[in-house]
């Protein structure tokens, strides 16, 4: 398995073709390396079904990254750093081009005063 720091130069993200093109340097171990990369990318895509990339662009970004880190960690039984996760995503998406979720805009445009749930006051009111 690669160290997870794929060196291949990816063009501007949006292109889907050849994300699994093996790095030229690893010609000797090519089939194995390639299989590992394919496996890795498959998992990433699987994870994206749960954590849609659009959420990476807004308020929830870090918890989505966290979710992806944990997902990959479970799949491959090793640690994935946040940076590594983002690099993997970069093979498929140009994250900067993503627009913010409408749902989120709504969440943040709606102003509401803070209030404590009533359960906090039970003892006080007894």
């Amino acid at each position: 398995m690669s160290s997870g720091k794929p060196k291949e130069e990816e063009h501007d993200g949006m292109s889907v073709h050849s994300p699994c093109k093996p790095p030229p340097s690893s010609a000797s171990s090519l089939p194995k390396e390639q299989a590992a990369q394919v496996e890795l990318e498959l998992r990433v895509l699987e994870a994206l079904e749960i954590y849609p990339p659009i959420k990476l662009q807004g308020i929830h970004r870090h918890f989505v990254i966290y979710g992806l880190m944990e997902f990959l960690k479970r799949s491959f039984d090793r640690h994935f750093s946040a940076e590594e996760v983002l690099q993997l995503l970069d093979r498929f998406y140009n994250l900067e081009m993503l627009k913010t979720d409408d749902e989120e805009i709504d969440l943040l445009n709606h102003e509401e005063d803070f209030s404590l749930p009533s359960s906090y006051f039970i003892k006080e009111e007894s």
């Binding site: 749902e103 969440l107 102003e111 209030s115 009533s118």
Partner: protein
């Protein structure tokens, strides 16, 4: 109906709940108009009966305007006082829900698994409490709309911090006081401190903590103006927070803690898998314990205001002094 059956629970009818008052009385009384969570929305409801079960108050509610089939036993956490503020909350939630829908319907197994558990609980409740002969759709509870409230992440806030939140509420809304800003330590500083502490302890694992803390900081900055302020604090906010400044470099533990009350509502938007969520909850709890451990350092013991408080904590002045000395070592950091 209390006399109708020898069923252990059915004796809890109207009369007994009123007569045998346990140590802490129920928050809602029979006949009271309330607001009740059911699924993702809040409904107007009426408390029909109250009783204590397993040391907790349970309420039999009827949803106004809905068929009696929906009537059910619920716990305190499902109910709210019928106040103007809460009605607004209800309307806000309604609005939010209509937008949310698409997201929720796309939810995965974890949600289903949980709601089937809820359904089981409902069934049990019904079995125990509904007088025999009354027909009832057993699964109704879980079926009406997608159940969100139950699905929300539970974040157990330690008792002393809950107390802190109530004091906070008391200062701001009852005594008309404010947290003097800027605070020291700031939210940023507290988060950084925690990360340092965790990095020393866990090494590698701190990477994911770092991400979580960034997430908290981001939530804090974005949600402070829209969710975390009491009405009386808004003016102060507009005075203190200039254009490009992050609230997390001005506000402190008092407001950060409020975020944890709201956190489940925010995290529900990230469709986190159950296993990951469990780990996340653990880490959030770790952080809360850290806050708790440093409660006397991080939190103000008195708020600013016209009247001087009777001094909630002991030795608050020493605390402040200690605090500022200690915090000299903080560098202002972006995490």
């Amino acid at each position: 109906m209390g006399n109708s059956s020898k069923d252990d629970s059915a004796t809890s009818g109207d009369a007994s709940a009123g007569d045998v008052q346990p140590a802490n009385s129920s928050l809602y009384s029979e006949g009271e108009r309330v607001l009740a969570y059911h699924g993702p929305r809040i409904y107007e409801a009426k408390v029909q009966k109250t009783e204590i079960r397993k040391k907790e108050w349970r309420y039999f509610v009827h949803y106004l305007g809905w068929n009696k089939n929906w009537d059910e036993w619920v716990g305190e956490d499902r109910l709210m006082k019928h106040t103007e503020e809460n009605v607004q909350k209800q309307q806000a939630l309604d609005k939010k829900q209509s937008i949310d829908k698409n997201v929720k319907s796309g939810r995965s197994n974890q949600a289903k698994a949980k709601s089937s558990m809820d359904a089981k609980v409902d069934k049990e409740d019904i079995k125990n409490n509904v007088p025999k002969g009354k027909k009832r759709k057993t699964d109704s509870g879980a079926e009406k709309g997608s159940v969100t409230v139950e699905k929300l992440v539970k974040i157990q806030i330690p008792a002393t911090l809950k107390k802190q939140l109530v004091d906070d509420w008391e200062y701001v809304t009852q005594q008309d006081k404010l947290v003097k800003l800027p605070r020291s330590p700031t939210v940023d500083e507290i988060l950084t401190k925690f990360l340092e502490y965790k990095t020393k302890k866990d090494g590698m694992g701190a990477d994911s903590i770092g991400e979580i803390l960034k997430g908290i900081r981001c939530y804090f900055d974005k949600s402070l103006p829209t969710m975390l302020l009491y009405k009386r604090e808004r003016k102060q906010y507009s005075e203190v927070v200039a254009n490009d400044v992050s609230p997390s470099t001005i506000y402190g533990a008092e407001h950060l803690l409020r975020l944890f009350v709201k956190l489940p509502e925010l995290l529900v938007y990230v469709n986190i898998e159950e296993e990951t969520m469990t780990r996340l909850q653990q880490k959030l709890l770790d952080f809360l314990k850290f806050l708790q451990k440093n409660q006397s350092i991080f939190f103000l013991s008195a708020y600013d205001g016209a009247k001087v408080s009777e001094g909630k904590g002991k030795g608050k002045d020493d605390r402040e002094a200690f605090c500022s000395v200690k915090l000299k070592s903080f560098s202002s950091v972006v995490i």
